[in-house]
Amino acid sequence: MTNTILDPPATTPRESEVRAAGRLLITALEDEKPLSAARFNSMMVDRISDHEKLKAALFRLVDVTPMCRDTPEVADHLAALLGEIEDPGRGVRLMRRAAGSPVLAGATGMVARAGVKGMASRFIVGESVDDALGELAGMWRRGVASTVDLLGEATVTEREADAYAARCEQTLLALAAAAPSWPSRPHLENDMHGPVPRVNLSVKVSAMTPNARSDDPGRGAAGAADRLLGLLRAARDLDAHLHVDMESLDLRDTVTGLVFDLLSEPEFRDGPSVGMVMQGYLTDSPEELDRWLDWQNGSGRSTPLTVRLVKGAYWDHEVVEARQSGWVPPVFTDRSACDRNFEGLTRTLLSRLDLVRPAIASHNLRSISHAMAAAELAGGIDAIEFQVLRGLGDDIEKALAELGFRVRTYSPIGDLIAGMAYLVRRLLENTSNDSFLRARAGAENLDSLLVAP
């Protein structure tokens, strides 16, 4: 089966069109107050990032803080982690002394813990779904949709998998109970395909089974099948959208195999609305996307498949695993090539609006501008959704909402311990030297960020 349709819309925008879209976006961004919390946060992250060793030490502190039993233990870790920095500057020496001093350790630990908590609260919308409902409703009122993600520890037992699935179901119920009272926002709940569910939950297959194994996709899929099946039914009955997250490449075949298998059941022919995640940093992602489009085309499903296009959050893991094993890294190691691929995938998605709802998830101004311009050619503002991460894409979220796009913010819920792996991954992603946020912070003129990759 091929993906060519009779009359594919032209989705390749001219550079002038991309720049025009980008200027719209930048103007909207500049409407923001210059000293927003988001700006301040990215400035801090930026300063820390200049010192690789300090960054590593502080990230490790963030990682371990929830496990510390008291504040002196936090200080103890801080002192030991800073002690690893071979060439400490004055600031690091002072911090180390404070953390190591019997008199100051308690206070230092308290400050450090408060700092970690503060940082976590930027990225995490609440400790529980009830906790988060107010904020989610507030976002909706501001013209921003959400997808909720339940943070959790890794699943290593059946009981943990059951608990995760139960939390997901409770969350769907709680959101479905709350959402009807949200005010009407037509562009968030309707597009060219028809209604877009207000309730949107992102789930992880690896959390639904302790049996996910890279060398046997069938085992993990079988282990998670009943739980995902239950959630698909719940989503269908509650008119909610269920989005299946992608994790590292080790589990891609597990995830896609399982989702396609279940969605092939006749009972899911007309719903629920389901999404998957395409990682543009994978070098084979164009072929993989073709495979997905073929599948959707032949599935006979009446609801389009939502495809969230991301660059991917496991880049370091993929590269390190490949280097240790002697493999060619499965991801682009050249940022421009990655960006070009992302744009190519964006256009492919927009050329198959008969099959998919594209959701472009990026904080890169160029990638977003390109998607805006391409969407304009493919079917207008209605053809596309943008997604951002809470705490990192806040200003982009506001700007895109202002421009009238459907924006959905990835909104994690969970406690501090469960959130750490997520938090560190996000921090890493956005302070690495390749980070798009950093590029933006450092750019002399924002126009230079719109140059074709």
Binding site: R60, D63, V64, M67, C68, R69, E73, D76, H77, A79, A80, L81, G83, E84, E153, A154, V156, T157, E158, R159, E160, P210, N211, R213, S214, D215, D216, G218, R219, G223, L249, D250, D253, S325, G326, W327, A421
Partner: protein, 519 residues
Amino acid sequence: MNTFVNESLLEIRRRSVRDSLVESLAALDGELPIDARTVIGGTRSGGRELVSSDPGSPGTRVAEAGFSGAEEVAHAVEAAKRGTFAWGRLPADERVRTMRRAADGMRRERNRLTALIVRECGKPWGDADAEVCEAIDFIEYYAQQALALDRAPDLVQVPGERNHITYLPRGIVAVIAPWNFPLAISTGMTAAGLVTGNSVIYKPAEQSPGVGSEMVRIFLDAGIDPDAISFLPGDDTPGRLLVEHPSIQTIVFTGSCAAGLEINAQAARPAPGQTHIKRVVAEMGGKNCLVVDADADLDEVVPAAIDSAFGFAGQKCSAASRILVHEALYDQLSERLAGAVDSALVGQAENFGVDTGPVIDTESVERHRRYVELGSAEGTLLASQAEIPTGGNFCAPTVVADLPPGSELLTSEVFAPLVTLERVPSLEAAAAAIDSSAFALTGGLFTRNPEHARQFELASPVGNLYINRGTTGAMVGRQPFGGNRLSGTGSKAGGPGYLSYFVEPRVTCENTMRHGLVV
């Protein structure tokens, strides 16, 4: 930094790779049983009474070999003496070229060798593939090291004299190999002997003559002098005779502590007519501890612990057999570990996704059963899976807790899928418990406090310490492997000093002054 590059692992997560392995296993099954008869001077001979079988399906004949005895040992020693003369005098780079051809031979037959390890030893695919890579790595690494040894370091030179040091082969090496890494350890010990110019007489484990025989064939195909490598399958008779033999110079052994100590004692007594001191390189048992600090990330600890304790059914020398947990995390860890063990998959090694394959033989099954009984009598069985396949040598992965101090389970090597769990009040207490052990092979620590990691390292007697990862999977050149105390002779396989056990240095000083003239 050494620029050595390890052989690339197979990317088993790709379906096409898995499919090709399955095909190779089917092709291999069509060839069974493997002819693994005795090889001396390049010629096969002898009986086929020694049969190896698939541990997951003991009715399958995998290889047929003979029981080598005194006569075979005598012939092999005669051949080896000739081999020492010819092979030992080749220039180092010529030997290295030949050895590298053997590495290429293994690369060419990679899938087949992997399949044979799966079949003869019940080793799951991922571990079997890693083992073939390790074998290739040993050959390549020792080749690199042999060349470095040949370009011996500069000695101090003054006017009027010329000083140089040469490393000579010691003579005949007896390699006595285990079944748990039937290819990698055999290849490593054999390659180290050969590349330095020794002749090798190789005695494979009784359980894995098929893999051993294929290794020898590959060495011979690569052009190793047929007199320089002999293959003596059998029970423990050929090994014992070799250890006693006056013409054997070096004994390289991997196996149990008892056998290693026996070899060491025997080798120390010179046989009549013996004109050298035998050297013993031994890798013996272990009782490896994984320690979990109060701040550890259990999301990382549980999978690492499961893999270290139950991967290849707990039959790696490096396997974790005791887990010592800080009391702050004990309850959480024991619950999660037990739950994880309950969902582990026990099955045939050839099935992808299996967590724990069969153990090597019925003796191991029986030993495991005895220790589980002891565990349930002296402590608590936290997890012991009820569902295991029938028909093969399968054991349920087992976690035993609440053992009294001094329990035999805390000191004896089980070499099967059983791990004990202990509560400790501090890292210092864990270190003290480890220090009281006679074994010191591998150890592990999970902590997020770098200061704790440094202190633990200082207190740790083990040969291989792993921080924030599992205790198995040492890589050639990256983690030279070997134990201290009663775990071994401290020699590090796959490390920079290993070849020194196989050579004797000779220093030559030449007076270059003649009648006041310096030449």
